[in-house]
Structure formats: C-alpha cells, structure tokens
Amino acid sequence: MTPALFVALLLGGLSLAATTLHVGGFTRDGRFGGPSEVVEALRRQAPDVAITTVHLSDDRRAALVEAADGRWLVTFLGLRPFARKLHADDGRPTLTGVHYALGFDVPSVHIVAAHPHTAWLAAAGGE
C-alpha cells in the first residue's frame, strides 16, 4: 500500500464514520438539569469536596462550584461531565462569558455567562 493510498483510506474511512455518526444523531453535548447533577458529577471525581455553592452557566453546559478547598469548574466533554480545580488566573473574561485554558488535557472551555455574573468573573480574575 502506498502512503498516498493509506492517507486516502484513512481520511475517507474517518470521514465516513464521522458522517454516519453525526447524521445518526450521535453528536451531542450534555447539559446539567440542575445543581444536584453538578454535585453528583463533581462527587464522582472528587468525593470528599465540601460544596457550598453551585453556579450554573447560562446554557447549563458548565457550573462553577464553590467548595471549602476552592473553586471547581464542572463541564462536559460531549455527553460526559468532568471537573477541574480552578486557580485564580485560569480564566479570561470574553464578550459572552469566560474562557478557560486549563492545560494540555483541557485546552479550551468556554463558559456562556452573558450577564455579568460575579462568581464567574471573580473566578476568572475579573473582579
């Protein structure tokens, strides 16, 4: 097999798989139904965290959790939630919310918080 044929088969196969899955309705982003789902998601990753407040983003795709040990971001990768502990300088305010770049394995998370939301902006170092 020539390299060109290999690349063609690779790209063709992946494109076919992507199209099939996408058309089949398998491209989905999770949303939190409410604060209790956020707590459940965070507890699965960090069972001992003492949670005090949950702030859902406007689109319910993410939540800022205030806990005894600091702030946590809980959001989705596709359908499945994951969490990261936040540091003061992690976030960057944008026109529509806050953008987080939390390292190599979480390169980009955009939080939709159109209205000035003190907790989100404080977490992003904006206040």
Binding site: G13, L14, L21, R28, Q45, K85, L102
Partner: protein
C-alpha cells in the same frame, strides 16, 4: 515458518462489528453508548497506532533477533510450542498490563486507552502511540530468551490484541459460567475500565482471566451494576494528539519541578500513578 498477519485480517471484522454494535445500540435505545467525537478520537488513535507499531517492530526486531541467538532452549514451532507460547505470552501481557497501571512510566503510555468515558468497540482501538518509547518489548523479551521464535511471539501477541477487541462492549452481558471462569470477557473488562475506587487496578488479564484469579487482582462485575468508565481525572479534549500524549506531558511536568530531588523524581517515574509526588497539585 510464517504466521498470518491476524491484525490486518481482522480489520474488516472490526468495521462490521462496530457497525453491528451501533445498530444494536440504536435498537435497544442505548444511544448513549456512542458519541461521534469520542468514537473518532478512538478510531484515529487506532489507525495511527498501526504506524507506531511499525516503529515498535523496527526497534524490537533486532533486540529479539539478538536474544534468539542467545536463547536458552529451542521450543520449536509445533502445535505444543504455539500453545505454550500463547499461554506464556498471555502471562507476559498480564505483567505488561499490570505494570501499565501500577508504574507511572508505563501508565503515561497506557492512560490513553482509558481516556474515553464511553465503553464501546471503538474504545478497544484507542491504543497508545508510545509503546516503543515506553519499552513495552521488554515484557515479551523473556519468551524469546526461553526459546520461542520472535515470529511466534509476535503472532501470539497479535492474537492476544485481536481477542481483546470484542470484550469492549456493554451489549454483551455475561458469557456462560465456564467461559467467565477461564477467559477475559466483556463483564470482566468493564470493571477494568471503571474509575470508581472498587474498580481500579483489577482484571488485568488479556485472554485468560485466570491470571487475575491467581494473583488476586480479580474483581467480578456485580449483577445489575453500571460501571462509571474513564479516568479518575478525565481529560477534557477529543484531540487525539492531546489524548495520546497527555500522560507523558503530566509526567514531564512533575519531573521538571525544581523542589524534587533526583531520588524523588525516580520514585515518581517508577511509583504508582496515584503516588506521584503531589497528587493534590495535579489539577
């Protein structure tokens, strides 16, 4: 003696099986089993794994050839030798896989296989690109030294890899009791991919689950249980390159910490993943 390229021959079966699993998932209302981007990440990692495997062969072949020249015995290549080699290779895989979870160096390589929070047949293809870098060949080298021909060892390793494809599914509940007792099955391997404390570091077997029973790492799947799949600290990206290398990046970040002594850094590399110098600092 030449052996068939079982991985290449299996590719059409892989494609058909994934299609069938997808069809059955829709029919059974389990559309949560698949997510487009997650599946694409797995498929990309699996496809390019084959390129990395060429490097693995290029590196390990001369080493195995040298070991073959200095072998202690000659097992031959008859049916008995193939059978014994297959069983011993499966034991070597158990050691490799256990090290892959209990030694940070090898975990940096293996973590990608566990980085999906979904569990379907594409997850089986989510293979590491850094097996050569990690030096995985060392686990199978003793087989050659014992007198099993490198081609036979490579064949057994390939059969082992292909066997493990079908166990990455939620759609098969339990196999017959005798089969569950001896072989690795979807039920056993679901537990292995779990991230709850009770699921971690269990069921390392490749084809045979008897090694886990023997070395006390076996955990059965409780009836009606729903495993929570993925990493204790899940990754937040579908990017295949980030998925492939995040384990190494995290390890390197720890090794660059100026507050660690060389001895502490060595213990980070050779210690278990959860005992990394300061887990709290790994966000």
């Amino acid at each position: 003696m030449t052996y068939p390229d079982v991985v290449a021959y299996s590719v059409p079966f892989f494609v058909l099986a994934i299609g069938l699993e997808l069809f059955l998932a829709v029919r059974r209302g389990r559309t949560d089993l698949y997510e487009t981007r997650d599946a694409l990440t797995s498929l990309t990692l699996g496809t390019l794994y084959n390129l990395e495997h060429l490097l693995y062969v290029a590196v390990s072949a001369p080493i195995f050839a040298w070991l073959w020249e200095h072998r202690w015995f000659d097992a031959g290549q008859g049916a008995l030798a193939i059978g014994v080699c297959f069983v011993l290779d499966d034991l070597a895989f158990y050691a490799l896989h256990r090290a892959g979870h209990r030694v940070r160096w090898f975990w940096a390589n293996h973590v990608v296989h566990h980085s999906s929070q979904h569990y379907n047949l594409t997850t089986a293809l989510r293979q590491s690109w850094t097996g050569t870098l990690a030096g995985l060949w060392i686990f199978r080298a003793p087989l050659v030294l014992l007198g099993f021909h490198p081609a036979l060892v490579a064949f057994c390793a390939a059969v082992n890899l292909v066997y493990q494809f079908w166990i990455h599914t939620e759609l098969i509940d339990r196999m017959p009791g005798w089969f569950e007792a001896v072989f690795n099955t979807p039920s056993h391997h679901r537990v292995h991919h779990g991230r709850r404390p009770q699921d971690l570091d269990t069921n390392y077997g490749g084809v045979l689950i008897v090694w886990d029973r023997l070395f006390r790492t076996f955990t059965p799947e409780p009836p009606g249980d729903r495993v929570d799949y993925g990493l204790v600290k899940p990754i937040g990206t579908f990017h295949p390159v980030r998925a492939a290398f995040h384990g190494w990046i995290e390890l390197l970040a720890e090794l660059r910490r100026p507050d660690l002594t060389p001895r502490q850094k060595l213990s980070v590399v050779l210690g278990p993943p959860e005992a990394a110098s300061s887990v709290e600092q790994r966000r």
